[in-house]
């Protein structure tokens, strides 16, 4: 009975062995000569301007949360799919009501822009006509490199 899970166990052991071997091999083979610049967050030469106030926007958390919600929906759909022959119309109505309520939260998320990513929508207005290379350099002086092109503070198009 439990014999059918033997491949899973073997795979598990292999995975552990591989991970352990990798650690040991890297410890044995790789030269370890750390210094300041190597240990810096960006090894590519950009010196971080300031401490970031937070690591991830809360948006990431929302996505993880939504993932769980739909994960659980699938968990309920699966037994229904297996048993639906015997359940008939009653089961169909039940599962439709269930899915509708969960789907509703999806509509809410999209309506609130919780799933919108990337730069804000009105990106073509971002570069003002008055902007020249000197003003860009001046802005770079106040450490806003990487933020141009994003209209910070322009939230009007979005129900926050």
């Amino acid at each position: 009975m439990l014999g059918q899970y033997l491949p899973v166990v073997v795979l598990l052991i292999l995975a552990f062995l591989f991970a352990a071997l990798s650690f040991v091999a890297s410890r044995l083979l790789a030269p370890r000569r750390p210094h300041d610049r190597k240990a810096a967050p960006y090894e590519c030469g950009i010196i971080p301007g300031r401490e970031t106030p937070e690591r991830f926007p809360v948006r990431f958390f929302l996505v993880a949360m939504i993932f769980i919600v739909f994960d659980i929906e699938i968990v309920f759909l699966y037994p229904w799919a297996v048993a639906h022959g015997g359940l008939g119309l009653f089961g169909l109505v039940a599962v439709l009501l269930f899915s509708l309520a969960v789907f509703e939260s999806f509509v809410y998320l999209i309506g609130n822009g919780a799933l919108e990513w990337g730069p804000v929508r009105r990106v073509r207005h971002a570069v003002s006509p008055a902007r020249t290379s000197t003003s860009t350099i001046r802005r770079a002086g106040v450490r806003e490199v990487g933020l141009e092109g994003r209209t910070i503070g322009d939230e009007s198009g979005r129900a926050a």
Partner: protein, 217 residues
């Protein structure tokens, strides 16, 4: 065979649980939690509850712990709290005593009363064949427990709405923090936040800045 698998997975579960408590690094604690949940999945398999085992791995070990890790990363792994200070003196020793006695009580109940806790209805009788398992579960869910299933959908919706509301960007300035005053008339358990009228303007709250950043969308 069954006994051996049970013992091994029980050890996995318990060491994982102990690891969650002992680990200093929260990421390690989350990984120990994965270990525990995985061990529980093996126990489910042992009980012929294959569907539950799969759900355990997919939802708990997969999704829920990932969510935990997200929160740990959001807050910052290195931002450790100083656990050396007890906010309320003597709290921890009392908590330890109460917790230990509670554990002892439950263990006594479960171990001593193991013979006669229930008079009827074997709740864990064999379901008859692992293939049947998921179908039986589906039938039970959508007949006897159909109301609970529908309520789950409602619960999930509440959770989504709650997450969006709480993750929302704060509009306008934060209100000043109330100054903690220990007025002579306050009770012993009442040392927090009574003097809201004596609040001083500490408007420069870091949380306000944190919300301006990263919410460019």
């Amino acid at each position: 065979m069954d006994a051996a698998v049970f013992i091994v997975s029980a050890v996995v579960v318990l060491t994982g649980a102990a690891g969650v408590l002992v680990a200093r690094n929260p990421v390690h604690a989350a990984l120990f939690l994965v270990q525990t949940l995985f061990g529980v999945a093996v126990l489910f398999v042992l009980q012929d509850a294959t569907f539950l085992a799969a759900v355990q791995v997919i939802v708990y070990a997969g999704a829920v712990v990932i969510l935990f890790l997200f929160v740990i990363m959001l807050l910052g792994v290195d931002r450790a709290e100083d656990l050396g200070i007890e906010p309320i003196a003597g709290q921890r020793s009392v908590a330890a005593i109460v917790g230990a006695s509670m554990l002892g009580l439950l263990l006594t109940v479960l171990l001593v009363g193991v013979d006669g806790p229930t008079g009827a209805r074997g709740a864990n009788a064999a379901l008859g064949g692992a293939e049947d398992n998921t179908r039986r579960l589906g039938e039970a869910l959508f007949t006897d427990h159909v109301f609970a299933v529908e309520l789950t959908a409602l619960l999930l919706t509440v959770a989504v709405v709650g997450a969006v509301v709480l993750a929302r960007r704060v509009r306008g300035p934060l209100q000043p923090m109330p100054v903690v005053t220990v007025a002579s008339a306050t009770g012993s358990d009442d040392a927090s936040a009574t003097g809201s009228d004596e609040a001083t303007a500490t408007g420069d709250d870091p949380a306000a800045e944190a919300d301006d950043e990263g919410e460019a969308g």
